[in-house]
């Protein structure tokens, strides 16, 4: 529960930065904070107390494995999402740099 609250706080902080920051760079950083807050939310949702990696090793009982293996999908989703976020941030910053260079400061 605490993890969920913290991640929602992180998302809220990011929204505040996006809404109230005057600098474009800070707005992009705010966007990054929102996305990372969302990642934290998903990690918190997928957390399993005493969970094991979802790899069935020899000697492991199937019943116990099913009962304790964590869901691998959220980590795959977050990993993909991080890559996308980095790409979008890079494109936004590249556009910003070009805008500044050509005297079109946003």
């Amino acid at each position: 529960m605490m993890e969920h609250v913290l991640s929602i706080l992180l998302i809220s902080a990011g929204i505040m930065v996006v809404m109230f920051a005057k600098s474009f760079m800070k707005k992009v950083m705010g966007l990054g904070i929102i996305v990372n807050g969302m990642h934290a939310y998903l990690v918190a949702s997928a957390y399993r107390q005493g969970g094991v990696a979802p790899i069935l090793t020899p000697g492991m009982k199937l019943g116990g494995f099913v009962g304790s293996a964590v869901d691998p999908l959220p980590q795959a989703l977050i990993l993909t999402s991080i890559v996308i976020d980095v790409s979008v941030t890079a494109v936004l910053l590249a556009l910003y740099v070009r805008a500044v260079e050509s005297g079109e400061t946003p």
């Binding site: 959220p74 070009r98 946003p106």
Partner: protein
Amino acid sequence: MKIFGASSFQIASFGGIGVLILFLIINLVLISRKKSRYLQDINLAASATMVALAVFTFLKLVNTQVPSLSMGVGGWAPPFGIEIKVFLYNSILIIFAAISMLLVFLSLRTERLPSAVHPLFLLLFIGVFGVLHSGDIFNVFVYLEIMTVASYGLVSVSGEEGRYNTALYYAFPMALVSTLFLLGIFLIYSAYGTLNLHQLRTLCAHTSMFPLALFGAGMVIAALIFESALFPFYLWKTKVMSTTNVPTSFFFGSVSPVLCFYLITRMMTVFNLRSIPQLEVLLVALAVITGVVVAVMAFHSRNLLEALAYGSIAQIAFALFLFVVATPSNNLALYSFVHLLNTMIFETLIFGSLMLRGQLTGEYMEPLFSTGILSSIGVPLTSGFVSKYFALYYTLRISPLLFILSVVFVIASVAYGINAYNLRKNFHYRRIAHTSPVALSVLFIFFALTFFLGIHYKPLISLAEAMKSSLEVCG
């Protein structure tokens, strides 16, 4: 037919995106070696391959007489594996996207744009085909991001003064909207533990929706409404379309609205959102306000591309209005699909004739452009008349209020159509000496379809009925 253990469908559907990635790499290699002159032919070959694969997939679907063809990438079953799914609705849109891609690359023969637009357009269409093929919502998000990142680049290479500012004006809100979409996806996953659209549909149909998932689905729809540029989010689209190059405008005015309508209808079907009256009222209100606002703005616009941007927003708002107010007892959902098909035809004619204007002499360009405008207004004997006539006829039978609201959309179409027709005279362009037969023949098919389907409208209705049924069964 099996090729290296994969069926012909797998080769055609998944292979299509693979082919584009291969061509993207070739593009980048050619640009890095300063051999940009070969890009034209290479990318026309890529477009022709995509048209062939799209038609093959459609024929495969029709011949096998199954509702859908699907494939789990890597042999993994959902929710762990990525599912690629083709049914009649999206297979028709895949053909439309492939033809649009062909038109874009044909137009780049005469557009004076930097060579960087070639790989950017390829990336853009990788995103479009990916969204249309995806069977799970996270994959839809990934391909939407690929598409939007490519479009940021395309907006910034327009050559106009202030293009970087325009790109940022478009890119930053879109990045925020993507974040909203992603948050919606994560909430849906937290509630159901899957993002596969088929599994989600089964779960939402058998149990009442969890509040968390409902909130997530609401966020996804809100993000798609922004991407569709419905009121109050229409300003980004008109600003971008009026300042960028014509092929990019074609994408925003023709392909992007169709894609957004597809995603909204699919998400509403999967999450059973049409059973929520409050959402229905909200969407109808948004669509009608959009119709009124864009009619006024389009009529006062002095820029042809801006007027066309307002027009494309109005058309998609009308299709969405018909889809949302439809019930199982009335035929309005069917006419929303008829209108979608018509929009695909006349927007391609309008933007296609502008895009390929350098390769068409006046005697060809004028009738093609004018036919597109007449069909978008809904003049009799054009296919655009069919959807507008039946929509008005059925809404009058259902309720006078719905009829009046439909009339608003028809007035919006007339307002933008008349203004766009007048503004075409001020549209300057470079013309080459001869008419390109390829460009002319592609557009002539759409020109002939406009009149053929306007007179013999039964094939249009049958196709729309098949699309609607396939969404209901496989969506």
